[in-house]
């Protein structure tokens, strides 16, 4: 199993801060041990790499602004195999360019954190306006079958906390882990408490203790589907490829090798989804209506829920903290007792589809889409709750 250490104090800015979500995410990365970032400017995520560029010279590490997002998203992966913890920061249009390297990270089991500060799309869309419309892109946007982990913070404090958690999950599972922010969370300024380094748990890379002759780069067992890792320069002479490969990392372009590899990679997450799901629930038991929300929309939804409760409606809140893998089993349970599930989100119904898929007609699912640019009106969510409760 992976080892848990205390954070390196060099990267931890202990104290109480009044900062926005972008800056908080950067501090989370530094606290988690991120010592390499390659960036390309894009609104509304740029402040994360700007802060990293300012902070990293004195913490000890590298920031390089690359020539485009394709370069940034693969330079970080080179740095992982050079031994660093890394992050990749972007927003929608940049994320679209990075999709091939999302697949490469998954296929080569290169642990890395991707922060997407979502803005309105499609295309150039609304550079300075919020959205939550990249949720399906991170789930399905690269070709082939893959699985990611995605966290959805709703405050600057969570941008800090969840970014640390994202780094730890990336090391544990060796998949790309997303912190799915949005423009509002990224640019909202609130109190952020950064604890002492001794109170921050950091997951160490799963370094092998095997000697070069005994080590297989993608050697796994039934019990442990996550291989041990080495870095270039340590004498292991590894081969890493995006081609379908065997335990030695060598290309093996047969249906059998494809079957073994893709199933192991995908099931690494699917079979462990119960360990990963994280829902923050409030008064879900006995509720007639349950609001399923994530990110900044969960804060707007909470205001509507409070007002509905004041009117005597039994409303529960299920906030998705980890949105991928999706908590399908829990949704099925909720559907057994709730008369309706309301899903407000700043997209045209992406996560609502997942809810519908999970509950399979067991209860009514009400989609509350929003094209982005601003958050929902509280009244819109309130009206939907009242309508659903009838």
């Amino acid at each position: 199993m992976e080892e848990t250490l205390q954070a390196d104090p060099k990267g931890v800015l202990t104290g109480v801060h009044f900062i926005d979500g972008d800056h908080a995410a950067c501090e989370g990365a530094l606290a988690a041990g991120c010592r390499f970032a390659a960036g390309y400017p894009i609104t509304p995520s740029t402040e994360i790499v700007e802060r990293f560029a300012a902070r990293i010279p004195t913490v000890g590490g590298i920031f390089i602004q690359m020539e485009d997002e394709l370069a940034a998203s693969i330079a970080i992966q080179g740095a992982v195999w050079g031994g660093k913890k890394v992050m990749n920061v972007t927003s929608g249009p940049g994320l679209s360019l990075m999709m091939e390297h999302l697949g490469y990270a998954f296929m080569t089991e290169t642990p890395c954190v991707w922060i997407d500060v979502q803005r309105g799309g499609p295309s150039t869309g609304l550079p300075t306006g919020p959205a939550q419309a990249d949720m399906m892109q991170v789930k399905f946007g690269s070709h082939g079958d893959f699985e990611v982990i995605a966290l959805t913070p709703n405050s600057p404090q969570e941008c800090f906390d969840f970014t640390i958690r994202a780094f730890n999950l990336a090391e544990t599972w060796r998949v790309p882990v997303f912190v799915m922010m949005d423009e509002v969370v990224g640019h909202m300024t609130e109190r952020v408490d950064i604890p002492p380094a001794s109170e921050i748990e950091v997951t160490e890379r799963k370094w092998t203790r095997k000697r070069p002759g005994d080590y297989k780069i993608y050697g796994t067992t039934e019990q442990d589907p996550v291989p041990e890792m080495v870095k270039a320069g340590d004498g292991y002479r590894v081969h890493v490829t995006g081609l379908t490969h065997d335990e030695r990392g060598y290309p093996n372009l047969t249906p059998g090798a494809q079957d073994r590899l893709v199933k192991r990679l995908v099931n690494k997450i699917r079979h462990n989804a119960d360990k990963l799901v994280d829902i923050r629930e409030d008064q879900v038991e006995g509720a007639d209506v349950v609001v399923v929300s994530f990110g900044i929309t969960s804060r707007v939804a909470m205001a509507a829920i409070d007002r509905a409760r004041a009117k005597g409606v039994k409303v529960g809140s299920a906030r998705l903290v980890i949105t991928w893998p999706f908590p399908a089993a829990r949704m099925r349970e909720i559907a057994r007792t709730a008369k309706a599930i309301v899903v407000p989100e700043m997209n045209m119904g992406q996560i609502c589809r997942e809810v519908e898929l999970a509950v399979a007609g067991a209860t009514r699912v009400v989609s509350l889409p929003h094209a982005g640019g601003t958050v929902h009106e509280v009244e819109t969510i309130l009206d939907a709750i009242m309508e659903a409760a009838r």
């Binding site: 010279p57 970080i76 992966q77 080179g78 195999w81 050079g82 660093k84 270039a232 490829t241 995006g242």
Partner: protein, 298 residues
Amino acid sequence: MTEQLETPQDLECGLENAVLPYLRQDRIPHIWCPGCGIGTTVNCFCRALGDSGLDLDKVAIVSGIGCTGRTAGYLNLDSFHTTHGRAIPFATGLKLANPELKVVVYSGDGDLSAIGGNHLMHAARRNMDLMVVCVNNFTYGMTGGQVAPTTPIGPSQTTMPYGNFENPFNLPFLADACGAVYVARWTVYHVRQLAKAMREGLQKKGFVFIEALSPCPTLYSRRNRLGDGVDQVKYYKERSTIKNGADTKEVGLEFQGDIIVGKFVDRDRPTWLESMNSHYNKVLGDRFQTYGAPNGKD
């Protein structure tokens, strides 16, 4: 003789082969066609590795996609077969994360100068400490002989079926203009010179660009009735002129025309990492610790 044999594989083959220890012998046979020149360049590279005096545990090779892109998979080094065109930025991250490594990018002309052209320019501009070997066979081999940014005007390609009319890149000129500190071109006829250039490249600090002209008998040659691999090597022999220090502006290539080969550029300027360290030492003083000390720890 037998005392000099190094590995059981040597005995099996019944011959002594100086490059075997540098190859992943469990990956042989390779995928390259008979008469292809990529294997010849790899032979030169193995000899250069041996002559360089480098600790091979500290040499990493990064390839993109294509016929030459398979090179990384055959070398007994830490080796990375990345995505199409992105070997250079991957290598950039690898080198900066672990500066004690010597990082070599080994890929083809289409990979490095078409889809990866932007990265080639910027890595040269930054003087990133990488050695780039570009095997130029004037075509996309892996996908079946399409026009490349290096295809001279005239020859037919599957996507230029009536002959190419696009102006090609003069790659040494491009690398020179963008700031490479070492630029050379050789052909697979010039094996000693190519191996020497690769050794010099391995020992040079900064962005090194070596172009190796190489036949593609299966596609480029057959489609244009240029004979087999040997015929192309004969052409390289007959029409090449060695001109060390040549002005790279003057070394552009024409279809089956004269070839200027040699070491065109050999100069020094600070690498990206040296520039970063000296700048931050100056502006940040004691708050900054030099990154990438000789033991590779930051």
